[in-house]
Subunit: 463 residues, 2 copies
């Protein structure tokens, strides 16, 4: 490799020649539209699987349909495993079943399973019938594990070696069995005659050891086998803790049945982090690739719940319509208290949701964290009581109105902090997902308390 | 391993015996408070590094200080690398400098760098002076790379092998040089005499190959060396695309200077995902471990900006105080339009922020995504125009008021969708971080437009 390749080394991914550029995408789209098959064939051949997935994700719906129907044969089946779920569903549903069968048949069993899960039930059934018996069995077994479980995530192909072998014998086996081994692996697993796991050896330890060493002497103490039914979020947590490259999966009887590798976990972590963010805003995963109608529908549900919240807030205001009639400044100022409460509450809520997801928040420190958030909320409540009090005094020349908005601010920011941190904890305790409904509950509380405290104090003190 | 260990296999992480339980934490805290040194020594000895980090994270401030000052010698230095940055800073700052030096000296160079970066400058300088010359040089070199760059993330210890060697010779070298090699590795890197990278071989390919095979024949085509100055977010993007376990890092001259492994990337992905979520709510990373005053300060800044937004909204309302005076129902209903706009806008904004972070949104599909979000916003605008229109009609018996709130709803939900999706794109184009300030701009727009459209239409049509 000549040195000048690296002179003026690029420092951002956009500059790197091996990444798919927007220019190349538009060239390919032009070729698709011009039905210039030669150019499309040649371009697709040059793309990596990740590139192909990115290309299909970024082009418009019509171009996508054209590309998939005319050039399906040029697309490596693995590219489909790199796509967003929603996009993949859309892509596969536009292709003829025979094409889908040949794509799925070309994949390893865990990838095939991933593709089949996305299809709707009718399509699933008709595809399953056309698979080879071996593949069908593997897929059916995979489907028998709960959704998002280790069993669905794991790869069935494992390197398992008897505990009484030496390093030399193990390496010779790896060489001779090359074709039967999984495509990539980081660890070999040591088993007893009943296929019970007794240990795990990272490849780099195996390679460095003397050929005469017994495998038993090399096995790690800290192998933490994962039950096939464990939720993928828990699996990710264990990977984060243990810093291993792969982790064995066992069945109810402690027998080794598969392996999960860290690159699967990267996908899970991406997905879970994304989920929290999207759910807190009431957005579905894959919204980027969903059709307009379907997106409108899922968003509608969330907005509808928020409408009920807003109506509750309005109802609170209407309790005080006589008071507002007396002093129209109240109508002008009232959104400030509610909005500050909403924002302060969301801060506490976000910390809580994230700490629960990473398991940094548990029984041990629950009360300490709640206490701290309430302190922070109260302190900022006092700070903003002064600021808004003074602004109100200057704006409306009424010290009493300044006092009222200040008191309401302290009340609402304390309440916001307390409920912001507590609601996710409570929802988690009750077995729910704190990211989904916490914000709705919180906004309801901060709006109602915000309006009630401000207008109620005004009714009490002003007239 | 007896079979019954796995009978009734646990299916959640909480049930797994190898994870740190809340009960064990409180036992250790009790022992610390009772100055029962034997129990504390024994407990700390049993904990893994991740457990120790979790223990220190979850106990109260006073217990933490006591534990760190009395039992520092029992804590494995690696445990400090497993801690949250903010917690680590707090922990290290309570320990005497000599203790910190001995912790840092016991670590590998990249871990030592990670710890030193967190310290404040004075402490940094005094610690650096006390390090060995070799460690100091390594740390200084690391500090010379930009913050959050590949150079700071990489591990200097690399397995580099000349291109003309055979597989057999390479394996023999790995065995004989065992002590000089990095603790863990997944790939060997192939270099020419000038230390330029010519390829990368996953260990499992090396192990499976015939001893007589030349390394050149095994090297992967798709080695994508990363320049040391590349931002860690870009590095994570490349790992996601390439599905490799480790990636070589090169200097400006294309020479191999380090390696980044996928477990470092898991940390980066966690951190970046967390950042987006927290920044959108105006919360700092590590808030769980920051002192009350410091947390209050960082949150205050965000809330202050939001106060300005709220005042702008109030100013908009005050333009119409005469109109509200005429019909108090306007004051009751006006938060609904603003709140629905804020929620619908946040949905579009979240999709946009996340798609920009994962690079699913680029020039190619920008207009398509904006167009789609505007369609979704308009459709939901129409749907909620009907719903709120009818509710208003029933509540206040005024068809005209129903028409006004409906029209305002359509306007605000369209505007919210357009700006929700566009603001992050615009901020990214201008080189900013879309997660930080997008929400403030958006709320300002949806509040002002929401109040202005509703009250303005009312002023125009009602009187």
């Amino acid at each position: 490799m000549p040195e000048d390749v690296y002179e003026n080394a690029p420092s951002t991914a956009e500059d790197l020649a091996f990444l798919l550029s927007d220019d190349l995408i538009s060239d390919i789209v032009d070729a698709v539209r011009a039905q210039d098959a030669d150019t499309v064939h040649a371009s697709l051949e040059d793309l990596s699987n990740a590139d192909t997935a990115e290309l299909i994700a970024k082009i418009g719906e019509e171009d996508r349909r054209e590309l998939l129907s005319m050039y399906a044969g040029d697309i490596n089946p693995v590219a489909f495993t790199e796509m967003d779920t929603e996009l993949r569903r859309a892509a596969l549903s536009t292709m003829p079943p025979s094409e889908v069968v040949s794509i799925i048949s070309a994949l390893e069993s865990d990838d095939a399973l991933e593709l089949i899960i996305d299809l709707d039930e009718d399509q699933q059934r008709s595809i399953m019938q056309k698979l080879s018996a071996k593949m069908r069995t593997a897929v059916e077994e995979g489907l028998s594990f709960p959704e998002d479980s280790a069993g669905r995530l794991m790869q069935r192909e494992v390197v398992a070696i008897p505990q009484f072998w030496t390093v030399g014998k193990a390496i010779d086996y790896l060489r001779s069995a090359a074709d039967d081994l999984p495509e990539d692996f980081f660890d070999v697993f040591v088993i007893d005659p009943a296929y019970h796991l007794t240990g795990q050896i990272p490849l780099n330890k195996l390679v460095r050891a003397d050929r005469a060493t017994k495998l038993q002497e090399l096995t790690l103490d800290e192998t933490h086998p994962i039950p096939a039914t464990m939720d993928q979020e828990e699996v990710a947590h264990i990977f984060r803790r243990d810093d291993t490259a792969s982790t064995p999966v066992i069945d109810d009887h402690g027998r080794l049945i598969g392996v999960i590798t860290i690159d699967d976990i990267v996908d899970v972590i991406d997905q879970e982090a994304q989920e929290d963010l999207l759910r807190m805003a009431g957005v579905d995963q894959g919204d980027l690739y969903r059709a307009v109608w379907s997106t409108t529908g899922t968003r509608f549900r969330w907005l509808f719940v928020n409408l009920l919240t807003a109506i509750l807030a309005s109802a609170t205001i209407s309790l005080f319509d006589a008071t507002i009639q007396e002093m129209i400044a109240l109508a002008v100022l009232m959104p400030i208290v509610a909005s500050m409460g909403g924002n302060a509450g969301t801060q506490a809520l976000t910390v809580s949701v994230r700490a629960l997801a990473t398991r940094e928040l548990s029984d041990t420190n629950t009360w300490r964290v709640i206490g701290k958030e309430c302190m922070v909320g109260s302190l900022n409540g006092i700070a903003f009581a002064f600021i808004t009090g003074i602004i109100t005094l200057l704006w409306f020349q009424s010290p009493l109105l300044g006092l009222i908005i200040g008191l309401a601010m302290i009340i609402n920011l304390f309440v916001a902090a307390f409920f912001g941190v507590s609601i996710p904890i409570l929802i988690t305790r009750m077995g729910g997902d704190p990211a989904i409904s916490s914000t709705v509950f919180l906004t309801t509380i901060t709006d109602v308390v915000g309006f009630f405290a401000f207008l109620g104090l005004a009714a009490l003190l002003l007239f």
